[in-house]
């Protein structure tokens, strides 16, 4: 029997047992689709988080006082101790390193903002003009504290605050009170929304000196540094640590976090998660495989007399085995293809419903899903095919 004829004959029986075939194909397809959609979700979440991280800055290095116990922790992770403060002077030295493109010292606090007979507590960032490009923030109106004019009492309002305090527009040039000090509004941030726990729409930015005076401190909360390029990040990190060690009497008492390290951690976690859900989905494919086996076994017993006849007209066992095997192949193929299409469609649907989630199924997942469908389908057909091939033709013809 020629391969072509085997494929054709088996296809014709797959087609003629329509309900049975549809059920198997559906079971397989759902398994494959589950793998594709779940990995698309997992990978989408990964990309989402990675994207969010990138949005807070490119080639970002964060310097914080104190030595964190663990490397690659989060900003604000529990610190062992804070032996020596970070100062503006420290920041200036860091800014002079050749690998550093720009830097922004940072202080953070919560203070009462009052204007136009309104009052509320706001998060205050004290920094310099370079904070905006480093953190990828934009101004909707006005200007940041003009370079060199950082010591004048100017303030930038987040978009929501600006709207809240000055609903009739005309924000720039207005006077506000922050704590016990007066500020002149010099600009309004563009709407950016929440990012990494900071809602930039609800904060205000003031010059670092004013912030330190307001918070009554001489030390910095952070130094944000942007390396010249991605390849400079590692050497910049080293140089920052060395510089600060020298300035701190040889004491290695700062923590330098690169965004890369944080990103890599998230990346690893979310990749593992994606693999996990893919694995769970793959189990449903194994279940589909068992269904295939069961249905094929039933098919063999239903078609006993047909098998007997094929033997009577001269089909060797190998041909019978191949015929049933080829049927499973067709079913797996149809299931895999349909599952792939369903999976792509499902992912598309997710992307449409949650546009911010880039739920693209990874190529490896699609390949793995389709492959697993094939392998389980084929494995599941081995036993039924062998059983068909082994049937005694006399008994089979008698329908026994």
């Amino acid at each position: 029997m020629k391969l072509r004829d085997t494929l054709h004959l088996s296809l014709s029986s797959v087609v003629s047992y329509r309900t049975r075939s549809l059920l198997i194909v559906l079971a397989m397809a759902l398994g494959v689709a589950a793998v594709v959609v779940l990995t698309a979700l997992g990978d989408g979440a990964r990309r989402y988080v990675v994207g969010k991280f990138s949005s807070i800055g490119t080639n970002l290095i964060i310097v914080l006082p104190g030595r964190a116990e663990t490397a690659g922790g989060f900003p604000g992770a529990v610190l062992a101790q804070t032996p020596r403060d970070l100062t503006l002077e420290d920041a200036r030295f860091v800014g002079q390193l050749s690998q550093v493109k720009r830097y922004a010292p940072l202080n953070v606090g919560v203070v009462e903002l009052a204007a136009a007979s309104r009052l509320r507590e706001v998060t205050v960032l004290g920094s310099t003009a370079d904070l905006l490009p480093i953190r990828h923030m934009n101004l909707a109106q006005g200007s940041f504290l003009a370079q060199g004019a950082e010591y004048s009492a100017q303030i930038i309002l987040g978009a929501t605050l600006a709207q809240e305090f000055f609903p009739h527009g005309n924000v720039v040039g207005q006077r506000v009170r922050l704590g016990d000090r007066r500020f002149l509004v010099s600009g309004v941030l563009a709407v950016q929304g929440e990012s990494m726990g900071f809602n930039s729409d609800e904060l205000v930015i003031i010059p670092i000196d004013h912030a330190q005076a307001l918070f009554n401190t001489a030390s910095l909360f952070r130094i944000l540094v942007e390396a010249r390029s991605r390849s400079d990040i590692v050497s910049a990190k080293e140089a920052i640590r060395d510089t600060l060690k020298r300035r701190h009497d040889g004491e290695d008492d700062v923590t330098v976090i690169t965004q890369d390290a944080v990103l890599a951690t998230f990346d690893r976690i979310l990749r593992a998660l994606t693999l996990g859900v893919a694995g769970i989905a793959a189990i449903s494919l194994a279940v589909a495989g068992i269904l295939v086996m069961n249905v094929m076994l039933v098919a063999v017993s239903q078609r006993t007399s047909e098998i007997g006849l094929l033997k009577a007209i001269g089909a060797p066992s190998a041909d019978i085995r191949l015929l049933f095997f080829a049927e499973a192949l067709w079913l797996s193929l149809a299931g895999a293809v349909l599952g792939f299409v369903l999976g792509q469609f499902g992912s598309l649907l997710i992307r449409l419903v949650y546009p911010q989630l880039p739920a693209w199924p990874p190529v490896w997942a699609s390949i793995a899903g389709v492959t697993i469908a094939f392998v389980t389908g084929i494995l599941a057909s081995l036993l039924p095919a062998a059983r068909a091939a082994q049937l005694d033709p006399v008994k089979a013809l008698a329908g026994r």
Binding site: K2, D5, S16, G308, K311, G314, P316, V394, L397
Partner: protein, 223 residues
């Protein structure tokens, strides 16, 4: 052409042995027309199965066209079966989901014959068995006589040397049965060895050699 020596076939039923064939010696020459008759359970079908290499005897020797086929492997037996033997069954045994033409084509597919030649030979058979306007019908849409004609066309499409028919008219009424018998006898006239198992004395009498069986033995063999 067929030479059986001391063929015995024993079935085990629980703790009991059923001797379906016990020490059968039989010689059938090429081109003969033989009828096998006997009461139910006398071993006629079992004998036909052994002759058609569907069943292996427990002991004895089977020579077909001068070749010992008793101990051939399963695959070799399938090959011999395909080339030399045609089976016709009482219950037709057509594949229900295939059309008449496709049923007839099956042995050609198994033999690995190319599609164009297959089509030519199937068309020829459809014509020869007066089934041309039934080619695309499935078995369920055919009458009993038509089904048996399809089955005979299938059994003879590879031009076997021996045609083994087990009560081919058993499921047909008298008139249709006679038509089917005429077809089979036509094939015999064309040179095919015809071995016919039947309960019908009238039909059995038309053969040129009459074998009677009882309890797994040949009790009479007359020309």
């Amino acid at each position: 052409m067929i030479h059986l020596t001391a063929i015995t076939r024993v079935f085990r039923m629980g703790d009991q042995d059923v001797r379906a064939l016990s020490g059968i010696n039989l010689e059938i020459a090429s081109g003969e027309y033989v009828s096998i008759m006997g009461p139910s359970g006398s071993g006629k079908t079992t004998l036909l199965n052994v002759l058609g290499l569907l069943d292996r005897p427990n002991s004895g020797r089977y020579e077909l066209d001068g070749r010992d086929v008793t101990d051939l492997s399963e695959t070799e037996q399938a090959c011999v079966r395909r080339e030399k033997i045609g089976f016709v069954f009482q219950s037709f045994h057509l594949v229900p989901r295939l059309t008449a033409a496709e049923n007839i084509e099956l042995p050609l597919i198994l033999a690995g014959i190319a599609p164009t030649e297959r089509k030519a030979r199937v068309d020829e058979a459809l014509l020869g068995f007066d089934l041309r306007d039934r080619a695309q019908h499935r078995p369920a849409e055919l009458s009993g006589g038509q089904r048996q004609r399809v089955a005979i066309a299938r059994a003879t499409i590879l031009r076997p040397t021996a045609l083994l028919a087990d009560e081919p008219t058993g499921n047909l009424d008298h008139h249709i049965g006679a038509e089917v018998m005429a077809l089979l006898e036509g094939l015999h006239h064309a040179g095919t060895t015809l071995i016919l198992v039947t309960h019908d004395r009238e039909l059995g009498a038309r053969a040129h050699r009459h074998i009677a069986m009882r309890d797994g033995e040949i009790v009479a063999d007359e020309k």
